[in-house]
């Protein structure tokens, strides 16, 4: 908020230059800007409004931010939910199959492919896949898969080397049963923590994906707001995203602690 308040153009309004706007309206606008200019009152007004569901008005579009969020939110939520679920499914299946079939050539090829994907910025992945007409959800999944795979593979490799698993294998238990009863419960808690981390990554990745794929979601909205210097929108979006990330981190830590407690 300090950054926003002291940014250039914070108290500028293009309606000041509009001859059709009357003097009283102009005074009201200036009064409002003056009130926003005081950091403490700006923060208080923002929080008070947010509590009542009022996030202020977009300066560039002249529409309440709440309405804009309601229009664009579902699109982003759909991309986030589908993309993250697909990434986790693909990443976990990839890691599990490597933990079961321990072929060195397959492991090497997977490491190389994963490393190459990790070396690409999300925006570049989006630009490349857009050329092949892939939807935004698939682009998000592709950008998240290497992160899911890398961590889950490391955890699974550690888990399959565990004495319990070795003993189960020696007893002649089937692969599916070993996975379901010994390996997956062991890695569930850290994977859950990583799920929360990937939520944050997905939220960050959705901005370039929506911009490049031209999807009218919150990510594209934030980018357009940045280009239009629409600071109230950006402040609200940043705060909302921070709250979502904190909430997902907190929830995953809680569930992971409970899972660990059950295992102990």
């Amino acid at each position: 908020m300090i950054l926003v308040r002291h940014g250039s153009g914070f108290d500028a309004d293009e309606r000041d230059l509009d001859p059709s706007v009357g003097a009283s309206t102009r005074d009201a606008i200036r009064d409002r800007h003056r009130a926003d200019g005081r950091l403490l009152s700006y923060a208080t007004n923002l929080i008070r409004g947010a509590v009542h569901g009022d996030f202020g008005d977009s300066r560039s579009l002249g529409t309440p931010v709440r309405e804009l969020l309601a229009q664009r939110g579902p699109t982003t939520l759909r991309i986030l939910a589908t993309g993250t679920a697909a990434a986790w499914l693909a990443g976990l299946l990839w890691a599990i199959s490597l933990a079961i079939f321990r072929a060195p050539a397959l492991a090497g090829a997977s490491t190389m492919a994963n490393a190459c994907l990790l070396c690409l910025p999300t925006a570049a992945i989006a630009a490349l896949l857009l050329n092949a007409n892939w939807p935004a959800e698939a682009v998000l999944a592709v950008s998240l898969v290497p992160k899911v795979f890398q961590v889950s593979r490391g955890l699974l490799l550690q888990a399959v080397e565990n004495n319990e698993v070795l003993a189960a294998r020696a007893r002649g238990l089937g692969t599916g049963r070993i996975l379901g009863c010994y390996v997956l419960p062991r890695v569930a808690a850290p994977l859950l923590a990583w799920l929360a981390a990937t939520t944050g990554m997905a939220v960050a990745a959705v901005v370039p994906i929506e911009v490049i794929c031209d999807v009218p979601g919150l990510g594209q909205f934030a980018w357009k707001a940045a280009l239009a210097r629409d600071l109230p929108v950006l402040v609200v979006l940043t705060l909302l995203v921070a709250i979502v990330i904190q909430f997902s981190n907190g929830a995953s830590a809680l569930v992971a602690r409970r899972l660990e407690g059950q295992r102990a």
């Binding site: 950054l3 926003v4 940014g7 250039s8 153009g9 914070f10 492991a107 090497g108 490491t111 994963n114 490393a115 190459c116 990790l118 070396c119 690409l120 910025p121 999300t122 925006a123 570049a124 630009a127 490349l128 857009l130 050329n131 890398q150 593979r153 490391g154 944050g200 939220v203 960050a204 901005v207 370039p208 911009v211 490049i212 934030a222 980018w223 707001a225 940045a226 280009l227 239009a228 210097r229 629409d230 600071l231 950006l234 402040v235 979006l237 940043t238 995203v241 921070a242 990330i245 904190q246 981190n249």
Partner: protein
């Protein structure tokens, strides 16, 4: 050092040397040749030209130089910030440690891309290209130190409870001498690791921002704004040479990861 890491480090040095040599071998990155717009590779322009007739090779080498140099500078600044917060909280312990850890968590919870968009929105519209490149990497440095700070904090916390500190205290070493001459040098290997991890992270972050038009401003080239040509579907199909900057980025990142030993760990 394993042979693969040696090769990766050597290739990385070669790329860095080539990019530094761009001062002499390809200095005209901004010269517009209006009669040779979007040309395929030729003897005059080895990687062809862009939509303004500028030499792609010159722009690639200069962009690589700017990205690598400024990512290194940004990583150094980030490391200093992380060391300041992390080491201070780890060595101090108690309430100070809790307070500083909470500060780190607070910065960590802010979505960096959204914050970056906010800060970019506040910059003047007539920002010079040189200022844009400094601001981009300075902001990456200011926003990217939290993970490293946690690592420093853990290392410092471990050292605070180690036998070495008890021994140093029993020898009569106390106060700033204890922390500056005994404790801080133990964080040197961690600092080096974090520094080498942060450089490719910043190169990648700049590339992502550049693709969105939020990184380094034209006419200065960077890996990010060179990748913007990927958005032009017709150009990618007609002239696949525009994929070269992406290939170079992947090679540089792979070399960094291999040289840091990251690929060995995963394999």
């Amino acid at each position: 050092m394993k042979p693969l890491r040696k090769w990766a480090a050597a290739l990385l040095l070669l790329v860095a040397a080539l990019s530094l040599a761009s001062y002499w071998i390809a200095p005209d990155y901004a010269t517009q040749n209006r009669d040779s717009i979007q040309q395929p590779p030729s003897r005059q322009f080895l990687l062809g030209t862009d939509e303004l007739g500028r030499d792609n090779l010159s722009r690639l080498l200069t962009g690589l130089r700017l990205s690598l140099l400024l990512a290194t500078a940004g990583a150094a600044c980030s490391c200093v910030l992380a060391l300041l917060f992390g080491a201070l909280s780890g060595f101090a312990g108690g309430l100070a440690e809790t307070f500083l850890l909470n500060c780190i968590s607070l910065v960590e919870s802010v979505p960096w891309l959204f914050l970056f968009l906010t800060v970019r929105a506040m910059l003047p519209l007539n920002l010079s290209p040189a200022a844009s490149i400094w601001i981009t990497f300075a902001m990456l440095a200011v926003l990217g130190w939290t993970h490293a700070a946690r690592v420093f904090q853990a290392a410092a916390h471990q050292f605070r409870n180690s036998d070495a500190i008890i021994y140093a205290r029993s020898c009569g070493i106390a106060g700033w001498r204890l922390w500056f001459r005994q404790a801080l040098p133990t964080l040197r290997p961690v600092s080096l690791t974090q520094f080498t991890i942060l450089i490719p992270t910043f190169v990648l972050a700049e590339a992502g921002l550049g693709l969105l038009g939020l990184g380094v401003a034209e006419p200065l080239p960077s890996l990010g704004n060179l990748l913007r040509q990927l958005e032009n579907r017709e150009l990618v199909h007609a002239n696949p040479v525009v994929l070269v900057p992406l290939g170079v980025l992947v090679v540089v990142m792979l070399c960094f990861r291999t040289a840091c030993g990251d690929l060995e760990i995963t394999s």
